[in-house]
Structure formats: C-alpha cells, structure tokens
Symmetry: D3
Subunit: 194 residues, 6 copies
C-alpha cells in the first residue's frame, strides 16, 4: 500500500539536494521529529525554496511587538480564509505549541471571532483578513484602529506582510496539492501539565 | 477564575428541566462522558429543543444509503462553509469516531477537495455545499450527477436535508455564541490500534 | 393535461398517511381552503414532517414580543434572500393576511429597505438577514442595536431562530422543487374594507 | 394623513410640464387608468425623461423574435437580481397582462429556474442575468447556447440590451427611492376567463 | 492582414446611415480626428443609437455642480468595476484631456482610493460605485454623506445617473465585444506644457 | 509644493542602505532611468527586500516555456483582480516593453477576455486568476486544460507561482499605499517603428 502523494510535483531525494537545502531540512527534522512536507515539495525549485524560507524567516523570526503565537494566529486565520489545508493544519500545530493552548488553533482557523483571544488580537486578525481578502480597500482608518489597540506602525507592517506572505504560500500549497504530514494533526493537542 | 460562557443565553439547571429533556442529557452524558453544550444551550427553549433533536435524529439515525461517517462528513463540511465553530469541532470529533480516522474531520472541514475520500463522497459533499450556499440553483443536472455516483433519490434527500438542517444549526450556534466543549477538540485524535 | 409536479419526490396519498399527519393536513385545509404543498411534499418523510412542523409551531405560535405579521416578515425577507419561490409566495400570502396589508409582502420580499415598515422592523429584518447570510459575523454590537430598538433578548432569539429555521426550509424547498399552490399568489391581494 | 413619497426628488405638477411629456403621461393614464410613478419621478429631468422613454420604446416596442411577454420576463428577472422594487412590481403587472398568466411574474422575479416557462425562455433569462451580473465574462459560447435555442443575433442583442437598459433603470429607481403605484400590486392577479 | 473586429455585430457603412446619425459621427470625427467605435457599433440600431446619445448628452453636457472631469471620473471608475475595456480606455482618454492630468484615468480606473483626488471626489466615486454595485442598499445616510461634502441633491442625481447610464453602456459594450479605437490608448498621455 | 508620498512608511536614504541593496537600486536606475518606488519602499525592511527580490528573480528571470511578456501578462491580470495600482501600472509598462505592443497591458489588466492574445494565453490567464481568487478549488481538470494548450507541468508551476507571488506583492503595495512612479504611466505607449 502506498502513501498518498504529498504534492502534484516530484519530490527530490535528500541526496540530490544542494547542501544548504538539505541542511535546512535536517535541522527542522532534528527539532520536529519529521520533515514538514512544504520543505520537500518546494525543494523541487531550489531558488524559490531559498527565497521562500528567507522571506518566511524574515517575517516570523523577526523581533517586534507580536509574539510568536500571535504571528501563527495570523497564519492560521489566513489559511482558513484561503481554504488551505496545509497551512491550517501545520501552522495550527505550531500555534498550539507556542500558545501552550490546545484549543486556540481550531478556534482561530474556523472563526476567530469565537476564539479565546484578546480584543487586541481580534483587531489584529481583522486587519490580517482585510489584507488577505480586500487589500485594495485598506485606508488610514485601518491604521488608526490598530494604533488604538497599541500596535505601532512596524507591528502593522508585520501583521500585513505575514498575511500577504501566507496568501502566497496558501495559493502555492493549493496549486500543488500539498498534503500536511499526519504528525501535524495530533501535535500538542493535550494541554501541558502545570 | 470563571469558565468562558457557553452561550449568550442563560443555561437552565438540570434540576429545573422537564424530565424528557433531562433524560436525553443524561443519556448522552452516559455515552460521551460529558453533556455537549448544544443540549445545555438549547434547553433554554424546551419546545424548540424537542423539535431540534427530533429532526436531528430523524436525519442522522435513519437507515439509508449513507454511512454514519458520511452523514458527519456533510455536517463538518457545511460547518466549515458557515464558519460555525461549534459544529466544526463537535461533529468533527464524532466524524473521527465513526470513520476511525484521526485526519478526516479537519480535511473535510477545511477543504473537502483535499480530503482522503472517494469520488462518490466528493460528489456528495459538492451537492451538500450547493444546498448550503446556492440552493436556488439546484436543478436536474445535480440529481443526475449524484445518480451517476450510485446515490438514489432517497440518499439525495438525505444529503440535502442534512445540509439544510445544519444550516439552521450553524446559524443558531453562531447567533447564541455557542462554545464547543473542550473535550471535543481532542476526542479520537489518536488512530485506533488494530 | 396534467398539472405541474409539486415536488421532485412522490406525494403520498391522504389515505396512506399516519393519522396525526393526515389530521394536521385536514386541519389546515379546513382553515385555508386547500392543503399547502409543503405538507404534501414533506409527508414523504413522516418523522421529518413531524419535527419540521413541531419546530415551526414552536417558533411561529410562541407568545413573545413579535407580532405574527412581524414573524412572517422575517420569513418573506429570508425567502427573498434565499431565492425560495415557495416560501416567498406562501408566506407572502400569510403576511398579507396577518398585516391586513396587500402591499407589504412584495415590498419585504424584494427589498425590505423600501417597505412601509417601522425603523424597529427594519432593524429586525437587517438582523434576520445577517443570520441568514453572514451568521459567523454576529457579535455583541448586533445585540446592542436590536436592544436600542426595544427588543429584548428573547425577541432576538426569536428573530434569529425564525431566520435560521427558514434557511433550512428554503433549502429543502429549493432542493425538492417545491411548487407553491396557485391559491397563494392571489390570497389577500385586495385591501380589507374598513 | 399623507401618502408616502414616491421619490426622494420633487414631483413636477402636470401643468408645469412640457407638452410632450404631459401628453405621454396622459396617454399612459388613459390606457392604464393611472400614471405610473416612473413618469412622474423622471419628469424632474425632462431631457433625461425623453431619452429614457425613447430608449425604452426602441427596445420594448421593436418588432423582433421576442414576444412582449418575453421582454417583460427579462425586465422582471433583472429587477429581482437588482433588488429593484419598482420594476419588480410594475413590470410584474405588465408581464401578467401580456402573458395572461397570474403566476408568471412572481415566479420569474423570485427564481426563474422554478417558473412555468420553456427551456428556450430559461436560456434567455440565464443570458439576461449574465449581462446584468457578469457581463465582462460574456463570450462566444453564450452566443452559441442562445443560437442552439433558436435565437438569432438580433434577438440576442434585444435580450442583452433590455437587460442592460433595466440595469440603468433599476439603479435609478433604487437611488431615488421610487415607489410603485399601489395599483400595480393587484393588477391582473385573477386569471382571465376563457 | 485584417484589423480585429470592433463589434460582434455588423458595422453599417457611413453612406447607408440616416443623415442625423452620419452628421453626429462626422462632428465627433472632426473634433477627435477619428470616429470612436461606439458610434459605429451602435449605429446598427438607429433608434437605440439616438436614445443612447440623447441620454449621454443630457447627463454629460448638463450644467451643474460637477466638472466635466469629475463626470468622466465616474465613468472610468464604473467601467473598472464592470470590467468594461471600451469605457475604461475611451473615457480614460477623455478624462485625461479634461483633467489635463496624464495619471488620473488609470488611478481612478484601477483603484480610486489611491488616486490624486480630493476627499469630496472620493466620496463622489464611493457613491457612484454603490449605485453600480449595490444600489438596493442606498439610503438616507448616503445622501447625508454626500451633502456633508458639499454636493446638493441635483449633484447627487447626476452622480447616480451617470453611474447608472454607464452600467447600461458597459454591459452593451461587453455584450457586443466593443473594441476601443487604438487612438484612445495613447491620447493625452503627455502632460500639457504650461 | 511637495510630491505625494510614495509609501505610508519611511523611505531610507540611499546612503544609509546596505551595499547590496543600494547596488540593486543603482543597477535598475541605470537601466530604467529611475528607481521604481517598490525598491525604495521595501528597503525599509532589508531582509524582506532581499527575499522579495530573490523570489521575484527566481520566477521572472527563470528559463522556461513562458516568454517574458507572458510572465508580465500574468502580473498585470492579477494586479487588476487585486485592485493594485502599483503593479497594474509598473508591470503594465514592462509588459508594453517586452511585448512591443502599446495596447496589450491595458487590455489584459482591465479584461483579458477582450485582449489581443492567443487562446493559449487566455487559458494561462484564466488559471492565474483562479490561483489568485479561488485557489482552494484547483483540481486535476485545471492541469488537463493547460496541458491541452501545450503547457507542461513546469510551465503550470510558473504560471501559478507568479500569480501567487504577486498576490503577496499586490497586498503589500495596497497595505503600504505604494505609489507608482509617474514615469511608468507613459512608458512605451508609442508603437515601435518597424
């Protein structure tokens, strides 16, 4: 019995990869226990792989006013809006890990208005979804609303650019039929013991 | 510390409930280990409670060409389309139980086109979503497509009516701010041992 | 020459019906002069028939802050939004009867913003349509708006649940191709003499 | 007690009107028994009045492959799509007159797919609504479909231009809050005796 | 090599045209240096041609509170919303001429929120687009907003009717496949010398 | 008199930029005669700048089955769908240059169905817009359609990824209010002499 395909495109063998790309995969495997399929699938195009993850790291690892969990909330909410199974599941898992909260990812992905989050986080996600769905209508009022919740302009850039980057990512995942690793579905579902 | 509210409306005490309603709750508690919040919240209106669950049972427990898992697939896909957190999570759990598959509920809820289901099931969900989103456009061609997948007219009624009933249910849950029990999020996430 | 079909599904004969279902039909026939097709068509599934009308009666006959005409306004506006010919026509007729107003049903069904109704009724219909079309976005502000028009929380439940129930009903009618009785089109078109 | 306003704009007095405009009104009053409000409201701008009715007559009175009833079907279906109460009601009445059918107007306005019309008429209305709602996507296939139903290119022009003209008319009526005369609601509701 | 067709319908020869129609064409040719294709294509139906341009002139040449450039802004913004290449290009050229601004037409056509226009003009275009896209929702608040920007009710009629008229025009152009004259694309692209 | 802002965010001075970023800007200035504003605005975040242009170059400079003009057609059509003024104008200019055709950019940006392009290019743009607007619905049929037009799977990846990348880019430009350089509006408007 064969496993379901993880992409419509061929997956390169680890041995055939450029050193930097293989190194990145082994590093994430070391940390997570498995290689997320997005690495395997995007390695089909090494230059795009490098740019994609450089962009990802610039946004997601950057110091700033948003916590890691908040960045992942944006990703999961945008994935829900874009019907992207891969990012909903994979970043849902990461969000559960960062937030130490087994409920938050599904709440944010299905309907953030019902999630156990702060009003500030709700404003953040409302803006992220406006960037995802109606960016042509963004205006000064949107900035004013976010500032009234304590976000500064660099935070707003982060919120908007994370949303925009995952609009790219969701579309690629949907186009190539990227399948989430089974591991992501269960990851961090049990609340941490205190 | 107080728990988050499970509804915008008051939750009656078990002792204050009519006997038939309390009995139904105790029965589901016996089986599931907890009382799903939909029972507690809808008991605010006893007559509507009775009609709601009578309708539910008529559709979900009826013999026919759809498996229990397939009926729950319809519920979860429709909940995704209607941004209904309660049904997405609660019926997602039930779907995992019936299908003995820890991945299927999220797949179907986020984007059924990417789910590990049969072409027949994909046709079933496409029709369920047409009933949910554009029922005014249903015509003979939709029936012909479903028949070509082996559904008979009674199956089609079931598919459509389950979708329609949960369009009611999703709207009520969204309107009253119905919160899924925490238990549902984790239920049946681990694959059954063989 | 044959009459057009009233449903895509078989219509049971009155003699073959369970006593309670036949009794209900005869009762409405007594009152209206004819049996509305929704009774005939839903009798194809007796258990669903019973649950459907139990739900209907719980909502439409309940005492509360909404008049009977206001309840029917909700039904007609929602039917318009869902492109449901049966409910638009049948409940349009009932609305004309209750409101003693031959214009109101078409006004509300085509565009309630142009109807001869009060600002309070306009707020009621705006909420009913939000439940019908974007229930995932309902929030505390919607409740506050309705309260400012004098609705209490039980009224709000009624408005929302009537809308939700007819979202079910409209989808079923569209799915089975339910045809309005010819009688409904003309009913109560002439203003009552004073 | 005052009557509800028929327009957001002033209605000129008949005596103040230019002769040709007053003559047109008297002519229609002679025929219909009352002056439809669209004449009174548009007379606020005499030059636009003249152009509007010249356009209307060029389309609706022209000889060609469409019957008068079919032209009015297009108007009513488009009015439904544009939520235009005035044209739905006023042209619904005219459609009932031409078609000698008391049911057809509501059927076509609410959901033409459920109407008692021919497949050829259904194709005609599908095209009219594409012109109304997604004209940028019209292509050769649309023409081929209509030709397969026996329409020639001049008929297609008529269908499309009637739809386009009433897209103008519906928007004006909605903008000025044009109110249908009460008479239109009841007109020709009773089937003609044979 | 043949030129691409300018319409799906036959273009009459100038010699075959009625005198008034040919005169109108020669007049515009005299002024613009070429005959815009809309004249040639609509001449296929002389009566509609006359009504169309009578309506156009009544709206676009009328004295009132809107400048000629502002009227053309409405046309271009509406053409963008309706995906109408002909009006976007042809009226974009006319807008550049009237506004003496080589940038304004593309700005307004693609996204008027980013255009170099005044807040008053932004409010004007927001209303014009509401007439084009959701006229059934227009209410007193829209009028109040426009009045707060200094528009009187006659200006509002103009804004709305220009939008409505070009909703007709865009649909006809899309339906017949009307091709913009090549000349329009370049017209007035270079800023006037001072 | 000051120029309009080119971004909601501060523009770094050339002297303050990292060497590689300044070098890239000077290179494009050398070639184009001016520095496109996207370089100036994105330099606010050097790491994101580098990743953005690395991604851009990987997609737009890659060898493959799409011509440079075809790649720019995708960009312009997607910018139109996303209401992104910057990319519509800037890449419209680049498209005119590559295609040696002064009409093509506006045609493709406003409505590619009316553009002077091949059926193969029309299929390419239809897929690019599906990636931009409904990527969750992409399936094997879309691949089959493109293959029937002679595209291989690497071409399809290119089409989809260019669309996805500019969905990111359009959202960023809209969010920061990125203003196209005036030069772009006029560039290559006059047909090349033969």
């Amino acid at each position: 019995m064969t496993s379901p395909a993880i992409s419509r495109y061929p997956i390169p063998k680890l041995d055939d990869l450029a050193d930097d790309i293989r190194a990145r995969m082994l590093e994430v495997q070391e940390k997570a226990g498995f290689i997320p399929n997005v690495f395997l699938a995007l390695a089909h195009r090494p230059d795009e792989f490098r740019a994609f993850f450089a962009y990802h790291d610039a946004l997601m690892l950057r110091d700033g006013g948003l916590t890691k969990a908040e960045r992942e909330m944006i990703v999961v909410a945008v994935a829900g809006a874009n019907d992207c199974l891969y990012c909903f599941i994979a970043h849902g898992a990461i969000l559960r890990v960062y937030a130490k909260n087994p409920l938050i990812a599904d709440q944010v992905g299905v309907n953030y208005r019902k999630a156990d989050i702060t009003p500030r986080q709700r404003a953040m996600l409302a803006f992220a979804l406006k960037v995802a769905e109606r960016s042509g209508e963004i205006d000064e009022e949107d900035y004013a609303t976010l500032r009234s919740h304590g976000f500064d302009d660099e935070d707003i850039w982060d919120i908007g650019n994370i949303s925009a980057f995952f609009c790219l990512s969701n579309r690629m995942a949907n186009m190539i039929g990227l399948r989430p690793n089974d591991e992501f579905f269960l990851l961090s579902r049990v609340p941490r013991q205190k």
